[in-house]
Symmetry: C2
Subunit: 276 residues, 2 copies
């Protein structure tokens, strides 16, 4: 169909709009509205409940920054859990770390996994790796039933509406602490400081009550609201800012570098002020 444009209202009064060459799949799953479209600017793109989740052209930023910052902070991550992330992008990045023996993906919506494999093979193509276990299950419950098990946990959720609402609660962070080994750490996507300052402030406050080391870092994601995305780290022992230069090993990336690992924590003043 010609002349088709998709618009995501990222706030009530502001949004992005893009040319869609064709819609590839549309389905109301058990949990959310799933849409896969081919866009002219960003290549194939996954939308959940009308919000951009990932696109072939800019996905590397989010997936690299969610995975490599915690994984290079931990000196020897072997057992990794990804909550959400059914598109498989975080898993692809996790597997670049040779220390990782097992990576478990727990996404509540099997349809996201199914259609990502079909339409986003550049992103989801590593979900069949022998080190990967894929579970279609409730991440909140998986966390609640895990104890002293993981070195790193990445929470790659949607916004705190719909199926992800439990993933932004203090009870969930407490569960993560229990599911982590005694020197483990986790990261959670935390929306953006321009429109969701209050959410960032609340997540930081909640995580800080549970983890001795709590930090926020940023990355530029052009298809996400405001282009500036925040990630919260909670860590029991290792400080992402204290990683020594020689503990980085070479991996292929398009956004992450070992210098950016630390620079991403240097926040604009108005973002610093959210954390006080």
């Amino acid at each position: 169909m010609a002349g088709l444009w998709f618009t995501e209202k990222q706030t009530e009064n502001f949004g992005i709009t893009m040319k869609v060459n064709k819609t590839l799949h549309t389905e109301k799953t058990e949990y959310q509205m799933l849409e896969m479209v081919e866009t002219a600017e960003w290549g194939n793109m996954l939308l959940l409940d009308g919000m951009v989740m990932t696109s072939v052209k800019d996905e590397f930023v989010y997936h690299e920054m969610v995975a490599h910052v915690p994984l290079f902070t931990h000196p020897n991550p072997e057992n990794v859990l990804v909550v959400g992330g059914g598109d498989g992008g975080v898993i692809r990045e996790v597997l670049k770390h040779p220390s990782v023996k097992k990576a478990t993906l727990v996404d509540i919506d099997g349809k996201v996994i199914e259609y990502s494999k079909k339409f986003l093979p550049e992103i989801a193509g590593w979900l069949d790796d022998p080190r990967v276990e894929v579970r279609v299950a409730d991440g909140f419950m998986h966390i609640a039933n895990s104890e002293n098990e993981y070195d790193c946990i990445m929470v790659d959720s949607t916004e705190p509406i719909g199926p992800a609402v439990n993933l932004f609660t203090k009870g969930f962070y407490a569960g993560i602490s229990k599911a982590l080994k005694e020197d483990g750490l986790f990261v959670a996507q935390s929306d953006n400081p321009w429109f969701k300052g209050e959410l960032i402030r609340n997540v930081q406050r909640d995580v800080r009550e549970i983890f001795p080391i709590t930090r926020l870092y940023l990355a530029n994601i052009p298809t996400y609201p405001s282009g500036l995305w925040a990630f919260t780290i909670g860590s029991k022992v290792y400080d992402p800012l204290a990683v020594s230069d020689d503990s980085f090993h070479d991996i292929e990336t398009k956004y992450y570098t070992k210098e950016l690992h630390k620079a991403a924590f240097i926040l604009p003043k108005f973002v610093q002020e959210l954390l006080q």
Copy 2:
């Protein structure tokens, strides 16, 4: 008028869209289409030739980062020139530096100055400061006629179409070098690395042939294409990365900090690769 939305196509296939409460002024000036609108998300906003120039809510990022990075790099900036920048935002930031004795604004379009004073007083309200000289003139010619005069020059131009096309040429950078004192430096806005990589590459190459120290830094501007904006610095003597910690003095900012001054030069890998 209700139900009014403005859309800027930032590329052929991608753009931003926002609710407009009312249009405040629309005029075809001698040089460009000037529109001033009141937006619901960003407050009053200036558009030139249909492109977002500045808005009350996010202008601080651009103006602080254009002004303070070069001004804190120079140990004693006294005489400063702003080319373009008729909205007055860079001038407002320049005046926060007590060493500055004179700040000259040269914008080719007096209408930008006139309507910024009227509708963007939070931004343009410092143009009547006694240290400021405002000239409605061609910045390219002003530079061509200046010699050994300025400590810092900020090029706050529109995109390289319309009146700003000469401001992206090697001849212009050579003129800037001549207009600067022997230890002077300049900064120019350089669009974004997602959609305009080739432009950034060319500007860096041209500036590097003239200035011994050439660098690129980034800032997040949510109303600009991709949310990630680039700035090129050309400097004769002082390196923005070598500024000592004690040469920063306190100024009121919402984005810039002395830590961010250096972190802004730490580039994502795909941006680094544009410079090679």
